[in-house]
């Protein structure tokens, strides 16, 4: 089992950046008014941000990270490790992390690479960056995570379009002895890889004129092509209801913590119904489970840090907090982490301005 603890890693700051343009699901006229009301209530997404064509996840993360590094007063030369967690990379080749290393002005001694994960990506990313720092005694590192999902979503797909929003985040970490350890529990079930998928554009189904661009009717109110994200709601729903609770319980047990010991449970913002069901399964009080879904939608691997930036900003800046983060979805991949933060740097959410 991939359950383990990592010592000596401190989260020093978290920031997030979203595009300026906002879509209100009340304007989603592809479905009837009544359906729209039910949909908004069930998924819990009223508004979400969407990027202009040409703006990438890396652009959003870059802005978020620059502000964070400035506020932390960290010298760009000090960053020895950069990880970019995303499923919306700049190019098929090369990895985006390298492009960012140069753009930030990080030294050539900096290690940089991408991780391709979505909903679980933030938790996985923390585990990889934490492990590398701890074993390699790397002093300062930057974890970027987020996605632009709206570009690959079909407007005429009621099962996906209203759900996703775009965001990029940055988390700054440093090596510090005697801080409370981070405890991870990471899992995978590739049998469900088709539950959330963009079928074409990779090597398996290379982009082609015959299948990639043609819009097909999948179901009532669901039309999409093979470059669009396809979501099997019931499969993902059942998976999450089955797997997340035991994963969280095991994590708590391994870390010798009770449910009550945790100050905040920050979940990947999948959708309201799913997250509320998990909250009720675990009998967690509402005030311990913050949501950013209403204003930003499901923002993939940005959702956990975005929720902290928008909902717990004052708390993390001024207090010592014991968190449990849990991410679950595409892959299928899921995982939780228990970690503590104390008076971290957490700038207000940043709106992306295009730099020409």
């Amino acid at each position: 089992m991939a359950i383990f603890s990592i010592p000596d890693i401190k989260v020093s700051g978290i920031s997030a950046c979203v595009p300026e343009k906002e879509y209100n699901n009340n304007d989603y006229d592809w479905i009837s008014e009544k359906d729209r009301e039910i949909l908004i209530k069930t998924i819990g997404v009223e508004k979400k941000r969407y990027a202009d064509k040409g703006t990438t996840t890396a652009d959003l993360c870059f802005v978020a990270a620059n502000k964070l590094l400035d506020d932390l007063k960290w010298d760009r030369d000090e960053i020895q490790l950069l990880i970019f967690v995303s499923q919306s990379r700049d190019y098929l080749i090369p990895a985006t992390a390298g492009i960012l290393q140069e753009k930030f002005g990080f030294p050539k001694t900096c290690m940089a690479f991408d991780i391709s994960l979505g909903c679980s990506g933030y938790v996985y990313g923390l585990s990889v960056i934490g492990s590398l720092m701890s074993t390699g005694r790397i002093k300062k590192a930057l974890l970027l995570s987020g996605d632009i999902s709206t570009l690959n979503t079909s407007f005429k797909d009621k099962s996906a379009f209203p759900l996703f929003g775009d965001a990029g985040t940055a988390t700054a970490l440093e090596l510090k002895e005697n801080v409370p350890k981070m405890t991870f529990n990471l899992q995978t079930d590739g049998k469900g890889y088709k539950a959330i998928i963009i079928p074409d554009g990779g090597i398996r189904n290379f982009a082609n004129k015959e299948t990639s661009f043609e819009y097909k009717k999948i179901d009532e109110g669901i039309y999409r092509n093979n470059f669009n994200i396809a979501l099997n709601g019931v499969d993902v729903f059942n998976f999450s209801l089955r797997e997340v609770r035991p994963n969280i319980k095991k994590t708590l047990e391994f870390a010798s913590q009770t449910i009550e010991d945790i100050d905040y449970y920050v979940f990947h913002q999948a959708n309201k119904l799913m997250n509320e069901t998990i909250r009720r399964q675990l009998r967690l009080p509402e005030e311990k489970v913050p949501y950013s879904l209403k204003d930003y939608g499901n923002t993939s691997s940005a959702s956990i840090p975005l929720t902290i930036v928008t909902k717990l900003n004052e708390v993390v800046k001024n207090k010592k907090i014991k968190f449990l983060f849990s991410g679950f979805g595409v892959g299928l991949s899921w995982g939780s982490v228990i970690l503590e933060t104390e008076n971290i740097v957490c700038p207000e959410i940043i709106t992306y301005q295009k730099i020409d």
Binding site: S159, G233, V234, L241, R242, T277
Partner: protein, 79 residues
Amino acid sequence: MNITDFIKKVEEEFEDLKSGSLKPEVALREYFTWDSINALIFLAHVNVEYDVELTAQELIQAITVQDLYNIVETKVNIK
């Protein structure tokens, strides 16, 4: 578990349903739209309430409230 209790809890879960409107023998589809969202709400409800998992296929096959109850009861009993 018993069906009276089961119905009461389902009625509480779906705001559109008036208390006392569901009977074991009535066809589900006459009382509320059995669309994907209501199906998910129902899946979530039985998961939290009875700790069982239903598939989309099982929901489609259930015609009456009694059918639905039977599926859930069977799953609760073999746990």
